[in-house]
Symmetry: C2
Subunit: 473 residues, 2 copies
C-alpha cells in the first residue's frame, strides 16, 4: 500500500518513464563485479537537482532508504541495494550536463551523472586537462568518482578525486539543497563539508554537481618501461624520479614479472620489450608529462634514467618513441586485470602503505602466505608512487579466501597501512572497517552519520553497519 | 570554589609551573593584532598528548571551556578567550617534537606545537621541502596552521595546509585520543575526519600531532618582478605562466602600484627596479622552482616572459640574477603590510574569487567605494594565482569601517567569492558567516558541532555563534 503510494508519487515527480521496475530495473540491481544482486521498490531517474531533492523527500517520508548510483562501476557494491526490496535506487545518469567551463579560472562545473570521459573531453576542448583517469572512465560518473574518492593512474601528480574538487552541490537526507558550488582555491569560512561528502559513498547525502579543477595540457608525454632488480630498487628509482622530474612525474606503476608473463601468455599480440627478465624483477611504468615539448621530455628521461642505470637501480629500460608505443606500455599494465580474470580464483587486496615500508611488507607477507598457504602464487602490481598495491594472489585449491584476506589485512594494519586504498568500504568491507578502525574513530563516524542523517535514509548498511536501524522510521 | 579545584587538578596534571595565572598568563590572553583581550581561569601548558587529553577531561568535567592556542599569530582572535574568565587556554607550545621523518615516504610526523620554521628546517636537513610558507613562520605553530588551514605564498603549487597533511592525532572534547597519524597517499576507509578537524579552529577537538607531506627540494629558484598594464593583463600572464612553467610556477603575487609607492616612501632602502610606472599598473612577483638547475630556470623564464612581452601582457620585467635579489623582491612584497601599518586606519579584506572575475570585481568595487566613500584610497595586493586578494584601503576620515566592509563583502558574496580566504572566522567574523552562508550550510555546521562537541567544551563562540549555550553544562 505504502509502496504503491510511493511509486505513484515518484512517477508524478520524475515522469512514469523514469521510474523503472521489473525487468527495466534489473541492470541497476547487480554490482559491476556481479558479487551481489539486490531488490528495490524502483529505480528512479530524476532529471535535475530539484527532482533529486523531491525524490529524497518522498522516500524519507515513506521510510524508504535511498541508494544513490552513478555508472555502477564500483568494486564494493556501495551502489547496490540490499535484498529487502525496501529501498529506492536513485540513478544520477540523467544529470549529465556540463553546466559551465571557466578556462580563466581553470574550473569546470559538471553534474554528477556526467561520465568521466565526457568531463575529460570537455576540458580538452577548452584547452585544459582534467587529470582524473581510471580504467572505467568510459562508464563511471563524476558523482560516483567523488562519492568514492576515486584514485586512478595520475594520483601521484594530481591527487585523488578529493583533491580535484573545489565545490559541491549536495541534496541532504531531508531533501534540502546545499549549494557549495564554489570555484575557489582558498576559502576558510567554516567546516569543510565538501571533503566530508567526498568519499562518504552516498551515506550522508547525494552529490548532484561539482566544481572541478583544471590544469594546463602538457605539451608532451613520454613513458618508459623499466626493469628493476627488485622492489627496493624500484623505490630508489621512485625517489630519483621525484627529484629529477618534480611534478612532471605523472605516473609510477610497478608490475611483478609473473603478472606480465600472464599477460603475454593470455594475449598473443602483447610483448615484453626486454630480452632477459627473471621472476624476482619488477617492471616500472614511468610517465612524464612535459610542459616544454618532446625533445625536453626525451632529454630529461635520458638524464634521470642513465643515473639510475649507473646506480644499479635499473637493469633494462625502453623509452617510448611514439604515442602508440606509450599506449602499448599502458595497455600491458591495464591488461593485467584481464589476464588475472582468466584464473579460476584470484584473491585481491587494494592496500596502501607508507612507500618506505613496501619492500619489506611484500617480502615478509609473501613468505607468510607461502607458509600458511603452500602453493600460493603472487600477482602483485599497483601504483608504487602512491604507496598503493593491488596485492593479488592465486590461492592453492581449497584455501579459504577469508583466511587469506585476514592474514594480509592484519599485516597491512600492523604496518600502518590501509585495507582499502582506492575502492572504499561499500557493503563488502563493513566488517573490515569495524575490525581495523579504533573505537574512537568508529564512534566519531557514527556521530557524523547520525547528525547528518538521523533517520538513516541514505544508503544504509554501507560504510557503517546497520546498527542505527532503531532510529529509522 | 569549583575553579580552585580545577586549578589544583590542572597543577597536579601538568605540574604547577605549567599552569599560568596572573601576569604569567597575560601574553596568552591578547590576540596577535591586539584587537581583543580575554580572561581565563589559567593558561595550561601540557607536555604531551596524554596530558592534553587529561586537561580536556578535567575542563569538561568542571564545565570550563577549552581555548586551544598555538603560536598566537592568528588574524581573527580564534585562540583568545572571551571576557568571562571561565575558560582555560590550552597552549600547545610544549608539544614541540619532530616525532619521525621518513624521507623514503616523503613524510614527517610532528607535534602541534612545532614552530613552522622548525618543520621546514627538519625537512631540509633530510633533503626535502616542506612548502608551507607564510609571514609568521618563525612564530606560528603547525597545529595552528592546520587548525586554521593556513595559506601563504606557495598555495598555487602545493595547496593550503589541508593539502599538506596526510594524518592527524586529535584529542576529542571528551578527552579521548583519535590516532589518525597515517602517512598514506590513498586511504578510502570511511569518513574524512582529517579534513573536518583541519580548519575547524579548535572548535571540534585539539590537534596534537600530524603527518605532513614532503617534496623534493628544487634545484633552483628564480623570481621575476614584472610590470603589467593592468589586472586583466596580469590574469593573461598567469595563464601563460601556468601553461609554460606547469607545476614549476610556485608563486604569482600581484601588487597595485600605490602599495609599492608606500613601501619605497616608508623604507628608504627599498627601491622599485622600474624606471616608469604609473598608478594603473600592477606588478607581478613570479617565482619558479626548477628541478633541473639555474640555467634551465633562466632559459624558461626568458621563453615565457618574452612571449608575454610580445603579447603586450608585460610592460617591463626584471629577472633576479641572485638569491639576494630574489630576497629583495620578496622583501618588497612583504613590506607592504608594514608600510600600511603606518597609516592611521587601514580597512582590510581577505577575499577570494574565481580568478576570472577578479579584474571586473576590482574595477567595479573600486568605483563603488569611490562613490560611497569619496577620497578612499585603494591598497590592493595578494595571491592572484590563488584568486586571493588582500583588498585593503585607506578610508576617508569619518567613514564607517563596518559600512565599508559590508559594501565589499556583499560584492564578494554576489560574485561567488569568499569573505575569508586565508584567515578563518575566529571571533571576528562570526556575524559575517551568519550573513553570507545559507541556512542549509549553517545548519549542517551546527549539527556537526553538536555531534562532535555536545557539551560545547571546545572554543565556544568561535566559527559558530554561542547559541547552543543551553547545551553547555
Amino acid at each position: 500500500m505504502a509502496q504503491a503510494r510511493l511509486l505513484a508519487d515518484l512517477r508524478a515527480c520524475v515522469g512514469p518513464e523514469h521510474v523503472l521496475t521489473g525487468d527495466d530495473a534489473v541492470p541497476y540491481l547487480t554490482d559491476w563485479r556481479k558479487t551481489v544482486t539486490g531488490r528495490a521498490v524502483a529505480v528512479v531517474r530524476p532529471a535535475n537537482r530539484d527532482e533529486v531533492a523531491q525524490v529524497v523527500r518522498l522516500c524519507a517520508a515513506a521510510g524508504a532508504p535511498v541508494v544513490p548510483q552513478g555508472g555502477n562501476t564500483g568494486q564494493v557494491a556501495a551502489a547496490t541495494p540490499d535484498a529487502s526490496a525496501s529501498a529506492v535506487v536513485l540513478s544520477l545518469l540523467r544529470l549529465n550536463r556540463v553546466r559551465a567551463i571557466d578556462p580563466d579560472n581553470d574550473t569546470v562545473t559538471v553534474e554528477a551523472g556526467c561520465v568521466l570521459q565526457t568531463v575529460q573531453e570537455a576540458a580538452r576542448e577548452a584547452g585544459r586537462l582534467f587529470p582524473l583517469s581510471l580504467g572505467a572512465e568510459g562508464s563511471c560518473t563524476i558523482g560516483g568518482n567523488l562519492a568514492t574518492n576515486a584514485g586512478g593512474t595520475q594520483v601521484l601528480r594530481y591527487g585523488n578525486a578529493r583533491e580535484l574538487a573545489l565545490g559541491l552541490e549536495v541534496v541532504t537526507p531531508e531533501g534540502e539543497i546545499w549549494d557549495g558550488l564554489r570555484g575557489l582555491r582558498k576559502d576558510n569560512t567554516g567546516y569543510d563539508l565538501r571533503d566530508l561528502y567526498i568519499g562518504s559513498e552516498g551515506t550522508l547525502g547525494v552529490i548532484t554537481a561539482a566544481v572541478l579543477k583544471l590544469f594546463p595540457l602538457p605539451r608532451a608525454q613520454r613513458t618508459a618501461l623499466i626493469a628493476t632488480p627488485g622492489l627496493s630498487q624500484a623505490l630508489l628509482l621512485l625517489q630519483r624520479a621525484r627529484a629529477g622530474f618534480g611534478a612532471e612525474l605523472t605516473a609510477f606503476e610497478v608490475m611483478a614479472t609473473p603478472c606480465l608473463r600472464d599477460v603475454t601468455r593470455a594475449f598473443a599480440q602483447q610483448r615484453l620489450p626486454f630480452t632477459e627478465i627473471d621472476d624476482d624483477m619488477w617492471c616500472v611504468l614511468l610517465e612524464v608529462s612535459d610542459n616544454e615539448g618532446e625533445q625536453h621530455a626525451q632529454d630529461r628521461l635520458e638524464v634521470v634514467l642513465s643515473g639510475a642505470l649507473e646506480a644499479g637501480e635499473v637493469s633494462d629500460v625502453v623509452v617510448s618513441v611514439s604515442e602508440s608505443q606509450s599506449a602499448a606500455f599502458w595497455h600491458l599494465r591495464e591488461s593485467i586485470t584481464l589476464a588475472l580474470a582468466q584464473a579460476d580464483v584470484c584473491v585481491k587486496h587494494d592496500i596502501s602503505l607508507p612507500a618506505s615500508k613496501i619492500p619489506d611488507f611484500v617480502r615478509e607477507t609473501d613468505r607468510a602466505l607461502a607458509t600458511a598457504f603452500p602453493g600460493v602464487r603472487m600477482r602483485v602490481f599497483g601504483h608504487l608512487g602512491d604507496g598503493n598495491l593491488h596485492y593479488n594472489l592465486l590461492p592453492p585449491r581449497g584455501a579459504s579466501k577469508a583466511d587469506i584476506q585476514r592474514l594480509v589485512h592484519d599485516r597491512v594494519h600492523a604496518a600502518g597501512g590501509s585495507i582499502s586504498a582506492e575502492q572504499g568500504i561499500g557493503q563488502h568491507r563493513v566488517e573490515d572497517l569495524e575490525r581495523y578502525k579504533s573505537d574512537v574513530e568508529l564512534a566519531l563516524m557514527r556521530r557524523i552519520k547520525t547528525a547528518l542523517d538521523p533517520r538513516g535514509v541514505m544508503n544504509p548498511g554501507k560504510v557503517l553497519p546497520m546498527e542505527s536501524k532503531g532510529d529509522c522510521p
